[in-house]
Amino acid sequence: MPTEVERLRAGMRVLSSAIAAVAEATTDSQRLLETLVRQAAELIQDTCIVLLKTPEGPTAAALYDPDPVLLEELRGLYEKPLAGAAITIQAMQSGKGAVFPTLDLEATRSHVSPEMYATFQRIGLSGSLIVPMRVQGEPYGALTILRHRQHHRELDELDLEFAQDLANHAAIAIANARRVDALRENEELRHAKEQLGRANKFLDAIIENIPDMVFVKDATKLAFTRFNRAGEELIGVSRDAMIGKTDYDFFPPEEAMHFQGMDRETLRNKVLVDIPEEPIHTAHGKRWLHTKKVPIVDEAGEPLYLLGISQDITNAKHHKQALLDAKDRAESANKELEAFSYSVAHDLRAPLRAIDGFSQALFEDYGERLDDEGNRLLHRVREQAQRMAVLIDDLLALSRVTRHDLSPEQIDLGAIASNSLAQLQRAEPDRVVEIQISKSLSTVADPRMMGIAFDNLIGNAWKFTSKTEGSRIEVGQLHKDSERVFFVRDNGAGFDRQYAHKLFGVFQRLHTEREFPGTGIGLATVARIILRHRGRVWAEGEPGKGATFFFTLGDPEAP
């Protein structure tokens, strides 16, 4: 048995180390408790427990017994908050400790759980003490010592004093640690607030600079709580005037009703609502919006806010309408052109036939009664009627080129050129023209359109070389700036390059009818065909040295 002095010394050691620990332990109160409990338990060679006050009742925060097996068992028993721990609670609240040198185990039965009682009985609990842990009258918990090893002496007042000193230090440690925790929490909170503030500013900057109107309304009153710059500009009202107000304060009643109806629907269904087109009356007049409304809900899924994003589609809508109108006009113009062409083909030709036919009849039946001049004039009437018929046919061909849909396919332009030449040769079998057509002129284009284009280009070359010695026509291609350029070249009459820009206009002629006959529609037709193939056409020439017509072909299927 240790002497009283030895007990005091050992007690002092524990206390002084407890004081040192408290001084150090400002952050980890749990480790401090563990240390204290362990040192106390080792000193008295029995069980020591620290119970902390919690809303659910006193709960073991640290517990120690030198016997590791028993320690585990006790930890299990003290895992949950203690129910009906009347003595502990009384000690905490009164601030007074109590020592029970001998314990009537039977009397404690009603205060502890059956499992606990069974353990106490087995280990032979014979005494205990309990001291409160308080700081400035505030109860933090209690420290308990359980005496059950039979060879030990009974607990006495000295033990109670030691225990109380230890408990006081533990209480201070816990109070300090809690204060530190609170401070740290405050610091963290402040830090979090700062971060939140920064994140908010960032979001504000984003929302502010979104070119569409962005607004937020609270879910109950549907009053504006946020409004960005684009919104201010669109509505023509400053955000200060908007915030806290509702749609009814700014827009006509039916419009406000529509906006809020959509808001309510969004909040009720809790899904994004897309409104492709809605009118809004702003300070600058009526505009059209494409609006998306999004519900913003809390953790429980209850709507808090309504987020709205509205794009001003007024201009796009006008453009679209203008396009549609233009398309309508183009279509009706095209229909008119169809009808006009049909009537030209039928009705304008009929009188020409009559003029020509009856002139011929006059010549046949009465030619003998007319003198040479009379016959010449009659001949001129017929000639001009026929010329007008050619003009009509050429104009019809030109309009057909504009009206008909393209059906592009893989074709050989060389073969098409040969075909045009063969027709001309058949009409004038005696003419000798040197022909040169490149191979590999295959491309993708509308065969019929290209046929018409080559009829005109080759026809021109044929015509304008009719007065040339050793006339020559060449069809080929070259590559210029990685672009494929086709050409039809002749060594015929050529043209003055200062009139080159006039070549492709309707009825534009650089030669008199007497020099070279023609209607002035052929190259206009060529230009339209090339244009419809998204290509370009141009010409080079010199009087008396010939002309070259160049063209490129784009993607004819591109819209």
Partner: protein, 144 residues
């Protein structure tokens, strides 16, 4: 050859006169029946209206049909001719001013035997009529 009738469906008086002149100049002496709109053409062919008393043996050897006609147009007349057992085998030559793709396609689609565009040049017109007469009245063997 005299009993081979040519039915000319033509509303334009000038064209009628010129066509008749062209036939005459081509030495085609067949009887030419001229009707001046689509209704009259069908009345003649089916022995209706003014032609109710027409002898049924009088069937034209060839029909020269204009497309643009008052009341019922040429394409409709052609459709009616091809839809009736009495006339469905008759040779029909479209004789018109039009060179529109749609008219050509529709005409052949409805069973036209030939499509001729009236040339403005009367000499060419006479030549065309001459060849038509030669082919349909002499060379071609009609259905029995």
């Amino acid at each position: 050859m005299k009993d081979k009738i040519i039915l000319l469906v033509e509303d334009n008086q000038n064209d009628e006169e010129l066509t008749l002149r062209a036939l005459k100049k081509s030495q085609i002496m067949n009887r030419v029946v001229v009707v001046r709109d689509g209704v009259e053409a069908l009345d003649y062919l089916f022995g209706r209206g003014a032609y109710a008393s027409r002898p049924s043996s009088e069937i034209p050897q060839v029909i020269l049909l204009d497309l643009k006609l008052p009341k019922i147009d040429g394409l409709e007349v052609l459709r009616a001719i091809r839809a009736d057992d009495r006339t469905k085998l008759l040779p029909v030559v479209i004789l018109t001013s039009s060179l529109e793709d749609q008219d050509l396609i529709k005409s052949y689609g409805l069973g036209a035997n030939s499509y001729v565009r009236k040339p403005v040049d009367f000499v060419q017109f006479v030549d065309a009529v001459k060849q038509l007469g030669l082919y349909w009245l002499v060379i071609n063997q009609p259905a029995p």
